[in-house]
Amino acid sequence: MFCGMANDVLTFTDRGIYCAAGDFFIDPWRPVDRALITHGHADHARPGHRRYLCTDACAPVMQHRLGDISVETVKFGEFRRIGDASVSFHPAGHLPGSAQIRVEVAGEVWVVSGDYKVVPDGLSETFEPVRCHSFITECTFGLPVFKWADQGDVALQLNDWWAANAAAGRCSILGAYSLGKAQRLMRMLNPDVGPILTHGAVEATNAVLRGQGYALPDTVQVTPDLDTKDYPGALVIAPPSAVGSKWAHRFGTSSTGFASGWMQLRGVRRRRAADRGFVVSDHADWPGLMHAIESTGAEKIYATHGYTDIFARWLNSQGYNAKVVPTEFGGNDDEVDAA
C-alpha cells in the first residue's frame, strides 16, 4: 500500500480514499465516520458508515439498497465545506445519479472519478469533465482492444434479435445488472416489438428511478402467478445470475443475451454460454478514458479498478505522471456482470 505525501489532498488507506483536511473517505470499503459516495453500486456504496454524503439523485437508490442509513445530499455542482476541504459532485455518466467527486484544499484540486463513461446514454446525467491537478480514474476497460460501437447501432442489434425471437415464438432473456444497465437497455428497446417483463430486482430499482422522475418504458414484473403465455414475444430483463437459473425455466424456449463491455471479447462471450452478447458498457472505453483524462488537464493520474499496471505504464509513456492505486476490490472477472 502506498500512501501519499504529507500535503496530498487525498491519500490511499486500507479503508479507502481519505481526505485528511476534511476527515472523510470516498467510497470506503470498511466502516468509517463520514463517507462520500460516488454512486449506488455495491462495491462503492457499502453498508456500515455513520454518515453518508451523495447527490440527491443518488440517494434514493442507495437508501433502497442499504436501508436505514443517515444520508445528507447535495445537488450536482453545489459546493460543500467539510473541515478545510471544499467538495462538489459532478456527473459521471455511469448511471442515473452517479458522480465524480471534486475535492479542493488550499487551491489544490483532486477529482475522484468513481465509475464513468463519457458518451451520453439517454438516461444518466452526461459526464462532465472537471479541471483538476490530480485525477483518480477508474480503468476497467483500459486496454486498446476496448472500443464501443455507437449506442444506436447496438440498439438496432438488440431490437433485431428481439424481433427475430418474437417472430420465431421465442422469449428473449437479457441479463443485465439491475441498477443502471437494466434501465439503460430499456431505453434502447423498441416497445413496438413486444412487452418488456422484468425480474423483481430490476423492477424494484425501476420503481425508485421512476419515483425520481427518470422516464422508463412500461414494464411488467414477473411474479409467481404471472402466466408467460399472456406475453408472447416478450423480452425479459433479469440480473445475470437469474438467466439460466430455475427462475428462467418458466419462459420455455428462449434465446439468452448479455449486455456488458466484456462482450467485446469472444472468449468471455463464449464462457457466458449465452446466445448473444451485446457490447453495452457503463464504463468508458479506451478512447473515452483518454479523452476524459485529457479534458481534466491533470498532470498526476492515479489508476484504479482494472488493468492498472498497464494503464499507468501507457500514461507515463504519454507524458503523464501516473501511479497505480491498489484496491481491495475483486478481480476483473467479478465485474463482468456490472461492467
Binding site: 486496454l143 471479447l265 472468449g267 463464449r270 464462457r271 446466445d275 505504464r313 509513456s317 478481480g331
Partner: protein, 530 residues
C-alpha cells in the same frame, strides 16, 4: 468473404448444435465450389501455408493501431486470441469489399513467396477493406488453428444435409491426405467414389469412457476384453503394393515408423488393420515416454530404431482383399485378422492384441487392477457382434480405465488461459516439498469448474508475488489433488520426474500447505509405477 463472416457469426451466436449445423448446411448449398472446398478444409484442420509470421502481424497491427507493441502484447492475454486482438486494435477500414473466401486464401498463398515489403503492403491493404468479423477470420487464416466451435463431425453432418449423402460415407471421403490444392469439391464430394485415393484411411471408431461398473452391460459372454494400451492409435493400410500408416489425428506417419516397411512382404494387398502402435521390448510395451522419443522424429536415427523399436498391436481388421469389412460383426473381423496374422514370423512388427478371457464381471475387475503390470491403462470392452462404426459412438465400445494416480501439490505459478478461458488464470504450476523447499514438478490446466477458476483468478490477482512476463508467482497457499495416468523419470525436469495427463482432480481446501506430498513420495511412486 461476407457470406463466410455471416456463417461464422451465426455459428458463434448460438450454443445449439442443430442451429450450427443448419447454418453450415445452408452455406454448403449456396457457396461456390471453391469456397465450399476451403470451408471443408478449414473445419477439418487443413489451412493455407503460413504467409507471414505472427511477430510481423503484431508489429504491423500495433503500427496501424498507433499503439506501442508492448501494449498489444499486454492486451493479448486479456483477449486470449491473437487474431482477435489484432482485429480489435486496428482502426476501422477505409473502404468495403466483398471478395470471396477463396480470394483471400489465394492472396495469402501468393504472399508466401513475396518479399517482405509486398507482404506488409498486401496485408495492410486487406485489413483496410475488411470489417471487424472478416478481419478476425482473415487473421485466423494466417495464425492457424481455425477452431471456431465447429467440430469435424458437425461439419460432416451439415455436408450430409446439404448434399443428401450419407454421413458415414462422407466421413470416409474426407479422410486422408487431400488438400484443396490437390482436389476439387466435385472430386472430393460428388464424383463416383470408385478411384479412391489408395492411402485413404477409414474413420476411426472411438470408445466412450465407462463410468459405471460393467454389470450394466449385460451378459459377459457378449463382450470381448482387451488391454487398453498406452501408445498411439494407428491404422496400417496395405494397398497397391505399398503401405501407409495413419495416426488417429489423421497424420500420415509412414516415414516415422520404418519398421512397417517390411509389411508388404508378409501381408497381402487390400489389408487394413486398426491397432495401437507401441514401443516394444520383446515381451511388452515400453512406457509411453520411450515411444514419445520416436513420435517427434521424422527421420529416425539407427540407434533409436534399435533402442525403441515399434510394433502394431493389432485389434481389428477393417479391409480384407480390398473388401470393406466394417459392417461385419467384431468376432468375425477378429477371426479373419487372427487367420491372417498367425502366419507372420515372430519378428514381424505386428502382433495380435490378445483377447483377455473372463467369465464374470468380477473376474474382469480383478484383471483390470493388474493393468499397470502389463503397461496398460486399463481395459477395452467391445461387444462381439458390433460393427466398426465411425467416430465416437456410445453403446458397443467402452474404455474402462484404471483409476488415476494422485498426489497433493502446492500451486506456485499461474498463467492466464486462451480462448474461452481468456482473462482467467487456468494454467498452473505445482510443486511438492523437498525439505523446506517447494520443487515444481508438473503443470495442469484442467479439472476445475468455471466457478472454481473464477475464484482462483480473484485470489491470484491479490496474491501475486512477482511477475515474469505472463507468468505470476503466487504465495504458496492452495493445495490441489493432481490426478495422472503415469509417471516416469525425466532428466529434463528439475524434479527428475514427468507425469502423463496431469490434471486437477480436487481443490483441497481442507489440506494445509505443509501436508502436501513430498518429492520422496513421488520418487516412491516412480519406483512402483514407473
Amino acid at each position: 468473404m461476407k457470406d463466410f463472416a455471416t456463417l461464422f457469426t451465426t455459428i458463434d451466436q448460438t450454443t445449439k448444435t442443430t442451429a450450427k449445423t443448419k447454418a453450415l448446411a445452408n452455406f454448403f448449398t449456396q457457396a461456390s465450389d471453391d469456397d465450399k472446398l476451403w470451408t471443408i478444409a478449414l473445419f477439418s484442420g487443413r489451412r493455407p501455408k503460413r504467409a507471414v509470421t505472427t511477430t510481423q502481424l503484431r508489429e504491423w497491427a500495433a503500427e496501424q493501431g498507433d499503439i506501442p507493441l508492448w501494449l498489444l502484447e499486454e492486451s493479448y492475454p486479456v483477449v486470449g486470441d491473437l487474431a482477435e486482438t489484432i482485429a480489435l486494435v486496428l482502426p476501422p477500414p477505409s473502404r468495403q469489399s466483398d471478395l470471396p473466401l477463396t480470394h483471400w486464401i489465394t492472396e495469402l498463398k501468393s504472399l508466401v513467396t513475396a518479399d517482405i515489403e509486398t507482404r506488409k503492403a498486401r496485408i495492410l491493404d486487406a485489413w483496410d477493406q475488411l470489417e471487424a468479423t472478416e478481419r478476425f477470420l482473415f487473421n485466423k487464416l494466417i495464425t492457424g488453428g481455425f477452431r471456431i466451435g465447429v467440430s469435424r463431425k458437425l461439419m460432416t453432418r451439415a455436408l450430409a444435409q446439404a448434399t443428401g449423402q450419407e454421413e458415414a460415407s462422407l466421413a470416409h471421403r474426407l479422410m486422408g491426405g487431400w488438400t484443396p490444392e490437390t482436389t476439387s469439391f466435385h472430386h472430393l464430394i460428388e464424383a463416383e467414389d470408385s478411384v479412391a485415393d489408395e492411402s485413404r484411411p477409414y474413420p476411426f471408431y472411438l470408445a466412450y469412457q465407462l463410468d459405471d461398473p460393467p454389470d450394466g452391460l449385460g451378459d459377459p459372454e457378449d463382450w470381448l476384453a482387451e488391454w487398453k494400451w498406452d501408445g498411439i492409435r494407428g491404422q496400417v493400410i496395405l494397398r497397391g503394393g505399398t503401405h501407409h500408416v495413419w495416426s488417429r489425428g489423421e497424420e500420415l506417419m509412414t516415414d516415422r515408423f520404418p519398421e512397417f516397411g517390411r509389411l508388404p512382404d508378409f501381408l497381402p494387398n487390400g489389408t487394413v488393420l486398426d491397432g495401437e502402435i507401441v514401443a516394444w521390448d520383446g515381451d511388452q510395451p515400453y512406457p509411453f515416454n520411450t515411444l514419445q522419443a520416436r513420435i517427434g522424429r521424422k527421420t529416425v536415427p539407427k540407434k533409436l530404431l534399435k533402442e525403441a523399436p515399434v510394433i502394431l498391436l493389432s485389434y481389428d481388421l477393417l479391409e480384407e482383399n480390398g473388401q470393406d469389412l466394417r459392417h461385419q460383426p467384431l468376432n468375425h473381423r477378429r477371426a479373419r485378422m487372427n487367420a491372417i496374422l498367425q502366419e507372420l514370423p515372430r519378428d514381424a512388427p505386428i502382433r495380435v492384441a490378445p483377447a483377455l478371457p473372463f467369465d464374470t464381471w468380477d473376474r474382469l475387475a480383478d484383471i483390470r487392477v493388474t493393468a499397470r503390470d502389463h503397461r496398460a491403462e486399463g481395459l477395452m470392452l467391445k461387444r462381439k457382434d458390433s460393427p466398426y462404426l465411425s467416430g465416437r459412438k456410445k453403446g458397443d465400445w467402452w474404455k474402462w480405465k484404471l483409476d488415476p494416480l494422485t498426489v497433493d501439490a502446492v500451486m506456485i505459478y499461474a498463467q492466464q488461459g486462451h480462448g474461452r478461458r481468456a482473462n482467467l488464470f487456468t494454467d498452473f504450476t505445482f510443486a511438492v516439498w523437498n525439505g523446506n523447499d517447494l520443487v515444481p514438478f508438473t503443470k495442469a490446466y484442467s479439472g476445475l469448474t468455471d466457478e472454481e477458476f473464477r475464484q482462483i483468478t480473484a485470489w491470484v490477482r491479490k496474491n501475486t508475488q512477482q511477475r515474469f512476463g505472463p507468468v505470476r508467482q503466487v504465495t504458496p497457499h492452495h493445495v490441489f489433488e493432481i490426478a495422472f495416468e503415469g509417471i516416469h523419470a525425466s532428466p529434463r525436469h528439475k524434479s527428475g520426474i514427468a507425469l502423463r495427463f496431469p490434471r486437477m482432480s480436487r481443490w483441497r481446501h481442507d489440506k494445509p500447505l505443509q501436508e502436501a506430498n513430498t518429492l520422496d513420495d513421488l520418487k516412491e511412486m516412480l519406483e512402483t509405477y514407473g
